[in-house]
């Protein structure tokens, strides 16, 4: 039998299909767009098609992400906190702190030695310090989102971004450009600003090694490096950090499926 985890996030919808041993058989990532339900259906169908698996071979589906309730035929909906914790722990079994920076929210999760969630913090007042912040800035600076990390790392003197509001930070970026500051320095400053912002959350739960970073923003090497510098520890980054929540959901689905079978 197979198990599916599906993460309907604000930016992307992800599905992970695993087999009875917990090994990944297929995964799919599509932009969420406005049609969350069709995005959910699409990733489910594509994951099955890629692995050559039929629906009747799927024993359980667990959904997560802010659109988790919309997923059809789900066995259970579980929050991103639990799923990211589970996924990160499966990939890096010594993880005690998970830092997930997604499209609209950032989270710091403390894990026990057994991988259970022991505490967490989420951004609550605004979405600065998330993927959306970097998306807005990438557009303002005409730098591709995937290029922000490498561009930032070329700067030796990162600019300082002091606004904590995304819109005001964009104004600040425009003003820095007008002053002739190099775009690479501004990009580096923005990456540092994201890390600083998330540091506030991590400090509230207390950082413990090992640290694993998940979510789309951990693909940005400059943010990861800034985070490592601030926290004083190196961070694990999964090969595909976008699917960690969906992987956690799939592992929970497997647990539920195996429980039902006995």
């Amino acid at each position: 039998m197979y198990y599916i985890g599906i993460d309907v996030g604000s930016a992307n919808t992800k599905a992970v299909l695993i087999n009875e041993n917990g090994a990944v058989a297929a995964y799919v990532i599509v932009p969420s767009g406005v049609g969350l339900l069709s995005a959910a259906r699409r990733v489910l169908d594509e994951a099955l098609a890629r692995a050559g698996v039929d629906w009747d071979q799927v024993a359980a589906v667990v959904s997560t992400g802010y659109g988790r309730e919309i997923v059809p035929n789900k066995t259970k909906a579980v929050t991103e906190i639990t799923c990211h914790g589970r996924g990160a722990f499966a990939l890096f079994p010594h993880t005690r702190t998970v830092i997930d920076i997604g499209g609209q929210d950032s989270k710091a999760i403390a894990l026990s030695v057994t991988g259970a969630v022991a505490g967490f913090e989420m951004n609550d007042k605004c979405a600065a310090g998330t993927g959306r912040f970097l998306e807005v800035m990438a557009r303002a600076l005409e730098v591709g989102l995937d290029r922000m990390g490498p561009v930032a790392l070329t700067s030796e003197r990162p600019a300082v971004i002091s606004s904590t509001c995304t819109v005001f930070a964009e104004t600040e970026v425009v003003s820095l450009l007008a002053q002739g500051v190099a775009p690479s320095a501004i990009v580096a400053g923005l990456c540092n600003a994201v890390a600083d912002r998330v540091h506030g959350l991590v400090a509230r739960i207390g950082v413990r090694a090992e640290v694993t970073m998940t979510g789309g923003v951990s693909k940005n090497t400059a943010v990861v490096k800034a985070m490592e510098r601030i926290l004083g520890v190196s961070a694990n980054v999964p090969e595909e950090p976008l699917i960690v929540g969906a992987l956690g959901a799939a592992l929970i689905a497997r647990e539920l499926g195996l429980k039902q079978a006995t």
Binding site: I81, V117, F120, M122, D124, K125
Partner: protein, 379 residues
């Protein structure tokens, strides 16, 4: 669990339109006194013939009027109250009472005098340090001053009427404590929402009208004996004010039982001690100046963290939710110490920073659900 009809339906319907009862009372010719915090000696206003009603602000919507008067770091609760007043939605009040507690409350009392002058206000300065003799003497004098101001605006307050009001409120408090006791033993008989509806309605209805419904509810619920069959994770909710029943519903819908609260809009509204001083004003002063978790008050020798931890342990709570209205400075300062106290005792906590005058949103649901999942995994 009580179904439709009966006292719970009355309470839920009062909470749906929080100031309907007060507006109707005012239209019927009764003086209505609005008050904003549990440190208001309601009995004094009741004895003057008033219906003292708790003002919580609105349930939703923007606060354009109030925003012109308040800095951005003032809490949504008092912002909403001021906005209602400026929009004319509190014109049914004959008088409004400001107990001096937090800075925003004190400043609002001053803004009110200028900007909502059509509704007279009475300020009662409550001592910061409670439980000491000088504090009691000071507070007695403040209540006497309020009595004089009340007599000038509303009407005479005789000692005998005051004693009658004290007896009524005392009887009601005793019943509320009994209700809390029954629910502690049998949370399966009354949902957290129903409990909260009972509490909030008591602050929005004349106590003499709430009391018979409360008695009927107690009779329906039965005593404390017997085993509870409830095995949901138990959560203790601590914080400032939240009159919107949807918050508690959302917490319980995540799969737990709110075993008890320590909220200004909840248990603390009935925390006054029963006293028997002969002078009614002295009695009121001693009743009201008790140590609670209200962070605007300090009682020598009292440790809120220790008290709340002991309460949580006695309730066998498995987790603690801080339901804190954003920008509440006093709670913001106390929170780190209280979090440490609970977690030091092995009780996980969740900080749910809310806008109590707006409906709960997805972000609140997500946090609560994740916290309950965490408790379920632990147990």
């Amino acid at each position: 669990m009580p179904e439709g009809g009966g006292p719970i339906q009355v309470f839920e319907s009062v909470c749906e339109d929080p100031y309907r009862v007060a507006r109707e009372a005012a239209a019927g010719g009764r003086s209505v006194a609005g008050y904003l915090c549990t440190y208001t000696p309601e009995e004094l206003f009741h004895a003057a013939g008033c219906f003292p009603v708790r003002i919580f602000g609105r349930d939703k919507g923007a606060t354009y009027h109030a925003d012109a008067h308040l800095p951005s770091f003032a809490c949504g609760f008092l912002r909403s109250v001021l906005d209602m007043a400026l929009a004319g939605e509190l014109d049914f009040l004959e008088v409004v009472v400001f107990p001096h507690t937090c800075d925003t409350m004190q400043n609002l009392a001053e803004i009110w005098k200028h900007s909502v002058a059509r509704i007279p206000s009475i300020t009662i300065t409550t001592p910061v340090s409670v439980g000491t003799e000088p504090a009691v003497r000071y507070f007695s004098e403040e209540i006497r001053r309020a009595r004089k101001a009340l007599e000038e605006t509303v009407g005479e307050v005789s000692d005998s009427l005051l004693m009658k009001s004290i007896a009524l409120y005392g009887a009601h408090r005793e019943r509320m404590h009994r209700l809390y006791e029954v629910r502690r033993a049998h949370p399966e008989r009354l949902s957290g929402r129903q409990m909260m509806a009972t509490v909030i309605a008591s602050l929005l209805m004349p106590r003499e009208e709430h009391l018979p419904h409360l008695d009927a509810l107690l009779a329906e619920l039965g005593g404390v004996s017997g085993q509870t069959g409830d095995d949901r994770p138990t959560v203790f909710v601590v914080g400032n004010t939240c009159h919107n029943l949807d918050y508690v519903s959302m917490i319980e819908d995540a799969g737990c039982v709110v075993v008890e609260d320590d909220l200004c809009s909840g248990y603390r509204a009935f925390a006054m001690a029963a006293r028997n001083e002969r002078d009614p004003i002295d009695r009121l002063a001693r009743m009201y100046l008790v140590g609670t978790s209200c962070p605007t008050k300090h009682q020598p020798g009292w440790d809120t963290g220790k008290d709340l931890v002991e309460k949580a342990q006695a309730l066998r709570a498995e987790g603690v939710v801080f339901l804190l209205t954003k920008f509440c400075e006093p709670w913001g300062f106390d929170y780190p110490h209280l979090k440490e106290a609970f977690e030091g005792a092995g009780l996980p906590t969740l900080l749910a920073a809310i806008e109590c005058n707006q409906p709960p949103g997805e972000s609140f649901r997500g946090r609560i659900s994740a916290f309950i999942e965490m408790l379920q995994t632990k147990s």
